[in-house]
Amino acid sequence: MSVRMLESDLPICFSQVGIVSGGVTILNDVSLTFLGGAPTVLIGPNGSGKTTLLKAAMGLLPLARGRITWAGQEVSAPARRAIMFQHPAMLRRSAAGNIRYALSAAGAVRAELERRTDELLTLVGLESLGARPARRLSGGEQQRLSLARALARDPAVLFLDEPTASLDPAATKAIEDVVRSISARSIKVIMATHDLGEARRLAGEVVLLHRGAVIESGSAERFFAAPATEEAKRFLAGELLI
């Protein structure tokens, strides 16, 4: 798998971004900068705006206010970014067919399709399940297939939305191992999770969201050792942020 040069796509800057849906403000005045390096993990309670932030970064949601820039430029089409949704839709074809489709959509040449499909299936540990209809894979296998499909875009930045939600520990470990492997290949990972354990295991940086606003952001080490805000302290203590 080829390795992208991050400098051409990063940093991703959110400048006073606001998103409104059905008259409800989902993100409010969010300003953030995502740099290269270890994964950035978005944490926060349900409804805090994590998924919306990822979708906005992917260009899948219109902004009501503010702007998002990639290496200083506004980009509308998701050319060098990919996303794995919390509930990925499986195309009605085999696991390998799903990856071939994503590769083809990303412009891969026909001669390379089989080789890269096999590569990606192996990367996510599904090499023995390539012929199986994707919709008949288990939940964890579907998540890994979705990850492989996202990687077919050969992204510089990969967004993961709750990639291990509702998975058992073994399936969670399999996904986290792939995430580490991806991150080691210089692909910037930005993921949302409500699992603090997962955030501790994977995060280089942490962003805490609550009610559509950024409460705190910074290095994971500092955040978990000495959170600066009252909300972060309460969240880490397991209290409910309402």
Binding site: A89, Y101, A106, P133
Partner: protein
């Protein structure tokens, strides 16, 4: 009982008159279904994937037209093709082609409405993924139609079933002319009224067999979908 035996003999011995009627019926209904598919699948997909003013009333009307009474469809086509109608100079009335047109009018809303529902449901499921993959509009449509192919095949079979079983439209525009526009359903109606029950029952057996075959094909398509596409 005697009629049933005679009817079976007609079917099993391959009675030429009976099979000429069957052949014409299948030709008309398959042609109508094919043309209706060419119109209905793109039309249904277009309505599923676009948003325009008046879309919801269009969907309501389309769904209502699935239950269009065949005699009304036949009457409408009759008025179009009759000598004083706008297409009267083509001289199509009381020909097999007129029957194809009438059945196409009947079947197109069925295929279009079922396609619209199928494609729209699949689009809701795929929308974010395809957008994230930056898939263009034409490829989206191709993907949705291909991935929905087994469900769409069921829609086509439903359309064909409707065409093969109807009598009201084709008897109006075809005229039930022996050896020319006489189909299974119109023959059954005529032969029953004449008291020629063996032929009517024989045709009934063939027609019911075709309907069962269509149902079996729909079932097979569903199973194939589960096996090959999940």
């Amino acid at each position: 009982m005697q009629e049933n035996v005679s009817a079976l003999q007609l079917v099993l011995t391959g009675d030429p008159a009976l099979f000429a009627i069957v052949r014409l019926s299948l030709t008309v209904s398959l042609s109508a279904t094919f043309i209706a598919a060419l119109i209905g699948v793109p039309l249904g997909s277009l309505i599923a994937l676009t948003r325009f003013r008046g879309r919801e009333p269009v969907i309501v009307v389309l769904n209502a037209l699935m239950g269009l009474p065949p005699v009304v469809a036949g009457l409408a086509v009759y008025l179009m093709l009759s000598r004083s109608g706008p297409l009267g100079r083509w001289g199509l009335l009381f020909t097999p082609l007129a029957m194809v047109v009438a059945q196409t009018v009947l079947v197109t809303p069925i295929i279009a409405a079922l396609t619209r529902q199928t494609i729209e449901d699949l689009w809701l499921e795929y929308r974010d993924e395809l957008a994230a993959m930056n898939v263009g509009p034409l490829r989206r449509v191709r993907t949705l139609i291909w991935d929905a192919r087994f469900s769409l095949l069921t829609a086509l079979l439903a359309g064909f079933g409707r065409a093969a079983a109807e009598v009201g439209a084709i008897i109006i525009v075809g005229g039930n002319i022996q050896g020319f526009t006489r189909t299974m359903t119109t023959s059954i109606a005529l032969e029953t009224s004449k008291g020629n029950l063996p032929l009517a029952i024989g045709l009934g057996i063939v027609l019911v067999s075709i309907v069962i075959l269509v149902s079996a094909l729909a079932w097979g398509a569903r199973r194939a979908a589960e096996r090959f596409a999940g």
